[in-house]
Amino acid sequence: MTVATKAPRGRPLLFTSYPSEMSLFPTTTRKVAFGLLLAVTAILPFMLADAELQLLATCCIAAIGAIGLGLVTGYAGQVSLGHAFFLGIGAYTASVISGDPDGRTVGLGVTNILVWLPAAGLVAGLFGVIVAPLATRLRGLYLAIVTLGLVFIGQHIFNEWSSVTGGVGVGRPAPTLEIFGYSLFTTTASVTRDQKLFWLMAALLLVFALAARNLARSRVGRAFTAIRDRDIAAGVIGVNLARYKTIAFAVSSFYAGCAGALLFTVTGYIEPTSFSLLLSVQYIAMVLIGGAGTISGAIAGAFFITLLPRIIRELQAFLPFISTDANEVPNVLQVESILYGVLIIVFLIFEPRGLFGLWVRARNYWKSWPFSY
């Protein structure tokens, strides 16, 4: 009956098929913008110092973790405070697999990133599936509190199981960044370690972000949104709640596992107390400040939160009453933690859609030009 001819040119609102309506880049402008972003990312390592590249690489990894939390909390609406636990599972799985067999801690000696990264994700994902039944029985605040319990259980295990984690205050080496014997973590004549690190993490972020975007615009993603908006209504229209909540937790934990595995490769060392409630809260902050329910928001939030200490340090130059000395009041560290809390409060009250919401607001202002609605 219908012809598969393409829609007429220059009419971005006229869709002749559902795939075109849901496409990743619905307009040429988006395609161009995305291409530009990629180009900038590719040349950035030649323009920035190594220390900054290292920071940006950390941002990319945090973004992968934030996207994972965004999927379960932002898209599927299941508030999880247990993200630190899944990050820890990933980190230790990866370091056990790639660890030195003859070292102080357990290690299998498989240093290829193509092995330990997926494995970290899968193991964490498996734990996600185990935890998921909680989510099918609980909602909202209760779920948050139960996932909080996860963090404490995890913390206890990580602290005590010293043959794997190295123990409190000691830790163990992070997984080795190697692909088929080629080290991604050493400086060669042409490229420095941090340049490689940045490219690798940016590429991984791209892969994970695109995968998440595709998941979000698929049947699964629509089921997530339906559950978030009203799980009873979603159940009534035929969304299998148990199944999709399980998928949400599994995918989210997979992302967390991968992010956890990568997170410590930059510093080289894993300390078991890192996986505390604070880490979970940081990721929640990334999702909320960035903008819940969007991938780009999660990325923006991750960059913002990870760069916050650096931003405050830069700010200090202009605000001399803030001290860099930890013994004086107010000092940089204090301002950092205060700002942290203030930002969450301010965003939740004034712009619940987060950084992404600010962008949407700016975009809508021009989109609705010359009207206001």
Binding site: M1, T2, V3, T5, A7, P8, G10, R11, L13, L14, F15, T16, S17, Y18, E21, S368, W369, P370, F371, S372, Y373
Partner: protein
């Protein structure tokens, strides 16, 4: 798919045009229909294939040349399939307005003697079944939407559209050449369609348009004299939203499509036209004055509600647009260097965004017709860069008479006669008379009315009074029967004053009274949306239409509109007094025709007390 074998047709019909397009460009897009949020596309071969199957289906139902096939549906592909199929089997299409109440449906079906009715849904089927007893010729009622009908209704006349298609396929397999034979036998004198005029006075009359009439109209519009740049073609898009039973929409949807191959896009409904326009961004757009007035009102209200910076920007560029519009009016639509420059800058800041948001960003030919329009409205659209032309035509002339042309626009006139159109003014009454190949054959079963409208040597009396403005341009004064004579003896053309009032975003209806009365007065109906917004912004609470109309503040608002119009008119033409209409005029209540024109007689009857009140109050005061 088997296309009909090529044979030498004696005459070109819309059916043969569609068939030839399907053969030449089978995969080109003929039309789009929005379905569950997606614009479904139909190619020319789909179009012809469906029409051919329907044509065979009609034959299977026993439709013979000269029979009438009625369609009672909103604009949708099936309307076109049925129309083309009907013409292919040499029968006549009769369109019914979706808003026609059952009594009018009964009148139209029995008067036309329709044999088959294609009804859209349960609502229209109910109307038909209510009156089927008074329509002895009606044999079959075909419904398009089975919801609420299938498994519930068991009237023997009912037939589902899908079943008609099945019948058609069967017939097509058995008698492959039946339709092609009929098409080859068509003559120019076959009646292609009966178009019932809405009838502001008396019952509707069915104008018979022959194959030759339609062909003249199709050829005239395809030539595209009204288009700046290239004539209309397959790259053009239109939005179909006005009732297809009206000759104007028939031209812009079916005839333009068949003649020039433009892509027709069906709006979901009249209520979603604004959104659909934004999506489709048509290049050809026809509207009755009411549509353009409403669009202007929407723009003004939305701009008034914009944030301060945007409001400032809008005010600046609207003022510039006003100047550009005024210059264009003076030059007949030819840009000067100054206007071009001003427009280019404004395009960047305002006009492009505004036009795109309203859905007229790509319009290269916009036309207003079917009723007179206030020049202010046209000037606004010209000012923001929409090539806007007022055109004139009527059912009885296959909608072809005059039109403004690029670079020769004269505001307030309906333009110049089209090619091959003879036009003259009656020397005594000033009535416009037309003669061309599109002038109708006559009124169906009404020789007396035909004789009144058409002289023996082919001149059509239009019933409109006009005058020449310059050597080529025609200005319409008013409908002959609407001209008012005040008791002071002055002739007054009400439509010009009414349109000036309606150009205000707050006024929806304005009906002038004053025939044989000491002075002019008006009945004014407010525009519910805009006045409602206006009241909200001022914190005036209201409940119903009537309540809002009766507010003193609203009266004062309307008074200011009236005063403004009065300032531009001579004292005898000024509206001294007005009353607010207590309800919105409606087709179903008989106050409007199906084309939303005011039935003066009905309004005079219904609101006679208001009119009397005006004059007694003044006299006693």
């Amino acid at each position: 798919m088997t296309l009909a074998p090529a044979r030498t047709d004696t005459v070109t019909t819309i059916a043969s045009r569609i068939r030839d397009r399907a053969a030449a460009t089978p995969h080109g897009v003929a039309m789009r229909e929005k379905h569950h949020g997606i614009w479904r596309q139909y190619s020319w071969s789909d179009y012809w294939d469906q029409a051919l199957t329907v044509a065979h289906g009609l034959l299977a139902l026993g439709v013979e040349p000269g029979d009438r096939v009625a369609v009672h549906a909103d604009n949708r592909p099936e309307w076109l399939f049925t129309d083309v199929a009907t013409v292919a089997v040499r029968a006549m299409t009769v369109g019914l307005y979706p808003t026609n109440p059952a009594s009018e449906v009964g009148y139209l079906l029995s008067h036309s003697g329709a044999k088959v009715l294609v009804a859209e849904d349960q609502e229209q089927v109910d109307k038909a079944l209510e009156v089927i007893g008074t329509c002895p010729d009606l044999e079959r009622v075909i419904y398009l939407e089975p919801r609420g009908i299938r498994h519930r209704y068991d009237h023997p006349a009912l037939l589902a559209w899908d079943d008609l298609l099945a019948l058609g396929r069967e017939h097509r397999a058995a008698h492959a050449d039946a339709v092609a034979d009929l098409m080859a036998a068509a003559t120019p004198d076959d009646i292609a369609t009966l178009i019932y005029t809405s009838g502001t006075t008396g019952p509707p009359k069915g104008a018979m348009l022959s194959v030759a009439n339609v062909d003249f109209a199709v050829r005239t519009i395809s030539r595209g004299r009204g288009f700046a740049g290239s004539p209309p073609g397959p790259g053009d898009l239109s939005v179909s939203y006005l009732p297809l039973c009206h000759v104007a929409e028939r031209i812009f949807t079916i005839w333009f499509n068949a003649g020039a191959g433009i892509q027709v896009n069906f709006a979901e409904s009249i209520a979603t036209v604004q959104a659909n326009l934004r999506e489709v961004q048509p290049t050809i757009l026809f509207g009755v004055p009411r549509i353009w007035e409403k669009m202007l009102a929407t723009v003004q209200i939305k701009l008034a509600n914009a944030s301060p910076v945007k409001r400032l920007n809008a005010r600046l560029w609207l003022r510039v647009a006003d100047r550009i519009g005024a210059t264009l009016v003076r030059t007949g639509g030819v840009h000067t260097t100054g206007t071009r420059l001003a427009y280019a800058v404004g395009w960047l800041f305002f006009y492009r965004a505004l036009r795109e948001r309203v859905g007229i960003g790509r319009v290269r030919f916009a036309a207003s017709g079917a009723a007179p329009i206030a020049p202010d409205v046209l000037r606004f659209f010209m000012g923001i860069g929409v090539p806007m032309y007022e055109v004139y035509g009527m059912t009885e002339s296959s909608a072809i008479a005059t039109g403004n042309r690029p670079r020769r626009v004269r505001l307030g006139t309906v333009g110049e006669p089209e090619d091959d159109v003879e036009l003259r003014l009656d020397p005594t009454t000033g009535e416009i008379e037309l003669r061309h190949a599109g002038v109708f054959v006559g009124y169906f079963n009404d020789p007396a009315a035909t004789a009144r409208a058409k002289s023996g040597d082919g001149w059509l009396r239009t019933g409109d009074v006009g005058e020449w403005d310059g050597p080529d341009h025609l200005r319409i004064t008013d409908r002959a029967k609407d001209i008012m004579i005040t008791s002071g003896g002055k002739n007054i053309a009400p439509s010009e004053i009414e349109n000036a009032l309606k150009a205000s975003p707050y006024v929806k209806e304005a009906i002038l009274v004053g025939d044989r009365r000491p002075f002019l007065a008006a009945l004014i109906g407010i525009e519910w949306d805009t006045v409602g917004e206006w009241a909200q912004r001022r914190g005036i609470g209201y409940t119903t239409y009537r309540d809002l109309s009766d507010k003193d503040e609203v009266r004062a608002l309307v008074q200011s509109v009236v005063d403004d119009v009065n300032r531009r008119h001579a004292p005898v033409e000024q509206v001294r007094e007005f009353r607010m209409l207590p309800k919105e005029l409606d087709h179903e209540d008989g106050e409007l025709t199906a084309t939303q024109k005011v039935r003066r007689s009905a309004v005079a009857d219904l609101f006679g007390d208001l009119v009397d009140d005006i004059y007694t109050a003044r006299v006693s005061a």
